[in-house]
């Protein structure tokens, strides 16, 4: 069963010369020429310094790594094509260095039946620039009342199941979902939130919410749900993926579950890893997301877990919103920010440069980590592997501007900021899907 779909086209041949090839999973860190023929890595060689046949990229001084995998993207299709389409969202993914993404099912209509899923897969085969998989809903209409037909959805190509945007409200339905998903071979990915605690919370409950008067969303609203779902997963001996973790308490529960042998994977977002609730003082609606930005303690706990591997995935939770919907007072704005095109640079700037995590860890959590969690092909730089490559210029700094985005939406928390680290070239499934003018011209 193919999980990832894209528009295809002829696989390319090119040679990337003289880059520092860095694939932590394959144990490679060397200056090499990487030759790709018909989309497959055909040769890794000592840099020759001379031009060979085919397309060539002079990559001296740059880093070549396995391209990224994003397990959490909102493509807003069907229903809100004004905010994002498969074409625009995957073009954004390509510009962000991704070779595979998984899209969320909270669209209109919801991806909770094989017909909608089938139509999306066909559309991806026509217009997805980057291989794209689709998660399907756990419950019909994300209402948390009846299970979707997970068996048929899995056969139709669902990558995993999630009610993202909503928790699975009832513990009983959650238990049934775990039991049933086990028979489909697909994992559940959970948005953990106890709604009777988060209520109408607008931001993390703490000193900043107290001062601003914004309704607080306590960190225990997440961890209480994480605790419930981990207990159920342990009891049913089923795997689980925890989405966009944001609090120290949740990280502690995750660690304990891993020690106890629960098969659990987890993701954190660039915004939760880079920002805290202090940023919300600006009342910029591009700092409003669910779960909300936590305290510095929460952030440091996430970074620690990312470093140790307890959190093995970085997920953007790329959530495009129309300009007019975000251009309102904070409380009136919807939750969510974009992230595909800025994830690497934001994390390189805020985590790697200050020495909080090594570059190798960042590259692993952006690529192999999420691929393993969802049983997707792991991008590798080795002879015989399909070319899934990202070329990075760590010396380059750039300023985030609306005009640079390929996404249809511009609700980025990074607008106006200068970041270190630029994506120069992305090769996905053997095709050059993004190249800045300096290498492709």
């Amino acid at each position: 069963m193919t999980i990832l779909h894209h528009r295809g086209g002829a696989a390319g041949s090119l040679t990337i010369r003289g880059a520092r090839v860095l694939d932590p999973g394959a144990g490679v860190d060397a200056l090499l020429d990487v030759k790709v023929e018909k989309g497959v890595i055909s040769e890794l060689a000592q840099p020759s310094g001379k031009k060979s046949a085919g397309k060539g990229v002079a990559a001296e001084g740059l880093v070549l790594a396995p391209a990224f995998v994003d397990p959490h993207v909102h493509l807003r299709t069907p229903g809100r094509e004004d905010e994002e389409t498969i074409a625009s969202g995957t073009a954004a993914a390509a510009a962000g260095g991704y070779c595979a993404i998984l899209a969320m099912p909270n669209t209109s209509p919801t991806v909770d039946n094989a017909a909608v899923l089938g139509a999306l897969i066909e559309l991806a085969q026509e217009e997805a620039v980057v291989p794209t998989g689709f998660m399907a809903a756990i419950s019909r209409g994300l209402a948390g009342e009846e299970l979707s037909e997970m068996g048929e959805l899995a056969e139709a190509g669902a990558a995993a199941f999630t009610d993202d945007g909503h928790p699975v409200y009832s513990a009983s339905l959650m238990r049934r979902a775990l039991q049933y998903a086990g028979s489909t071979g697909r994992r559940l990915a959970l948005h953990c939130e106890e709604p009777s605690l988060s209520r109408r919370g607008q931001m993390h409950e703490g000193a900043v919410s107290a001062e601003l008067g914004l309704a607080g969303y306590p960190s225990v609203a997440e961890s209480v749900a994480v605790g419930r779902d981990l207990a159920l997963a342990a009891y049913e001996a089923q795997p689980l993926h925890l989405m966009h973790l944001s609090s120290r308490e949740s990280v502690e529960l995750l660690r304990r579950a891993l020690v106890d042998g629960v098969e659990v994977s987890a993701e954190a977002t660039p915004h939760h890893l880079c920002l805290t609730d202090e940023a919300v003082r600006s009342l910029d609606s591009n700092l409003k997301m669910n779960p909300p930005l936590g305290s510095e303690q929460d952030r440091l706990a996430l970074i620690d877990a990312l470093k140790s591997g307890a959190i093995s995935c970085i997920a953007t939770d790329h959530a495009p919103h129309a300009r007019q919907e975000k251009d309102v007072p904070f409380e009136a704005a919807p939750f969510g920010v974009t992230g595909l095109e800025t994830a690497f640079a934001a994390l390189y700037t805020n985590l790697v440069e200050p020495g909080l995590i090594p570059l190798e860890t960042l590259l692993d959590r952006l690529s192999a980590g999420p691929a393993h969690a969802f049983d997707l092909p792991v991008p590798r730089i080795a002879v015989g592997e399909p070319a899934n490559l990202v070329l990075l210029d760590l010396e380059s700094s750039w300023t985030v501007r609306e005009e640079l985005f390929r996404s249809r939406s511009v609700n980025s928390w990074l607008l106006g900021q200068t970041l270190q680290g630029e994506i120069v070239l992305t090769v996905a499934a053997g095709r050059v899907v993004f190249g800045s003018e300096r290498v492709v011209a």
Binding site: E205, A207, S209, A210, L283, P329, E331
Partner: protein
């Protein structure tokens, strides 16, 4: 006074960043002192038979009220009129706001009349900041959601100073629903600016977590009002007890434990309330009507303090209240 708004193009370019009053954080203790002194001067002028001053003649002030308000709206309107400004008060009900026009578009429409000041009351936090980023007028926050109500805090300081003769060293007990109160937030910050201290007392769920970090003590023990010079009572809203919120078990229990009664006060303490009051809920009618109550004085202070704010924004030099916020840059 130079009528700089008549040569707008050139003047704007040379002007310092537009000043606004959006939050108490926009003020320094010097500016607070200046505003209170200006208000005292206006208070004396109001004792005359002819109460109108020509100071802001030819200036335009727009009051934009998206939330119901009696005292704040009337106070701003009268303040503008006493200073001879042209004033226009718009309420959200019955205007194009009802037709779904966005806050930014409404602001742009009103800005086409080139108002000098926009006074805004809005249910949503941050609305005044959004307006400040859209208009070239000065913006005064007349209350945004549960966030800030800076002119209320200023009039409270003025009232305390008039009644007690000084501000530094005063102890103020703020009692009641702190969680939902923009008045409490602004007042604690304002008291800190003038070296007075605050203790916030209320049911545990109605005092926000970590509230002490904004600069006050926090407790649920009503007996702590004993040492206070001023007991500042907050409005307890009926809806806090309904809809499964359960902030407190009942209004009856709230009153029994936190209502300000003559028995709970000691001689020499004064009582304040931002209004409107719920007699018999957060405040005993005997207290509200007593000589110790400054509630009516607060309303009178509101007029002169708002005159002082409008005057200060439109006539003082570029001493900063808050510089113009550009939301696009912030983003």
């Amino acid at each position: 006074m130079t009528e700089i708004h008549l040569i707008e193009g050139e003047a704007r370019a040379a002007e310092a960043p537009k000043r606004h009053l959006i939050s108490i954080e926009d003020l320094s203790s010097e500016i607070v002192e200046r505003l209170l002194a200006t208000a005292r001067n206006f208070s004396r002028s109001l004792e005359r038979e002819m109460k109108k001053l020509p100071t802001l003649r030819g200036r335009t002030i727009v009051n934009l009220f998206y939330e119901s308000s009696t005292r704040t709206a009337s106070s701003f309107e009268l303040a503008a009129k006493r200073l001879s400004a042209d004033v226009m008060t718009l309420r959200a009900i019955g205007s194009s706001v009802d037709k779904g026009e966005s806050l930014r578009d409404t602001t742009r429409t009103l800005s086409a009349y080139q108002p000098d000041v926009i006074v805004i009351r809005h249910v949503q936090i941050g609305a005044p900041k959004l307006i400040a980023a859209t208009t070239s007028a000065h913006v005064v926050n007349a209350g945004d959601g549960k966030h800030q109500h800076p002119t209320q805090a200023l009039l409270d300081l003025y009232t305390m100073q008039e009644a007690l003769g000084h501000l530094a060293g005063l102890q103020v007990a703020i009692v009641g629903d702190v969680l939902h109160s923009r008045v409490a937030r602004s007042l604690v910050q304002a008291l800190n600016l003038v070296d007075a201290s605050a203790v916030c007392i209320g049911p545990p769920a109605l005092v926000p977590r970590a509230f002490e970090q904004i600069g006050c003590e926090v407790s649920s023990d009503i007996s702590l009002i004993e040492t206070a010079d001023v007991v500042y009572v907050l409005r307890m809203q009926q809806e806090r007890m309904t809809g499964g919120e359960n902030f407190v078990p009942s209004l009856r229990e709230y009153s029994a434990r936190w209502s300000i009664t003559p028995e709970r006060l000691r001689p020499g303490q004064v009582v304040m309330h931002p209004g409107p009051i719920n007699r018999g809920v957060e405040i005993d009618p005997r207290v509200a009507d007593s000589a110790e109550s400054l509630i009516e004085a607060q309303v009178r202070s509101g007029l002169v303090v708002r005159m002082a704010v409008l005057y200060d924004l439109l006539t003082q030099g570029p001493v900063s209240l808050a510089p113009t916020v550009n939301m696009n840059e912030v983003a």
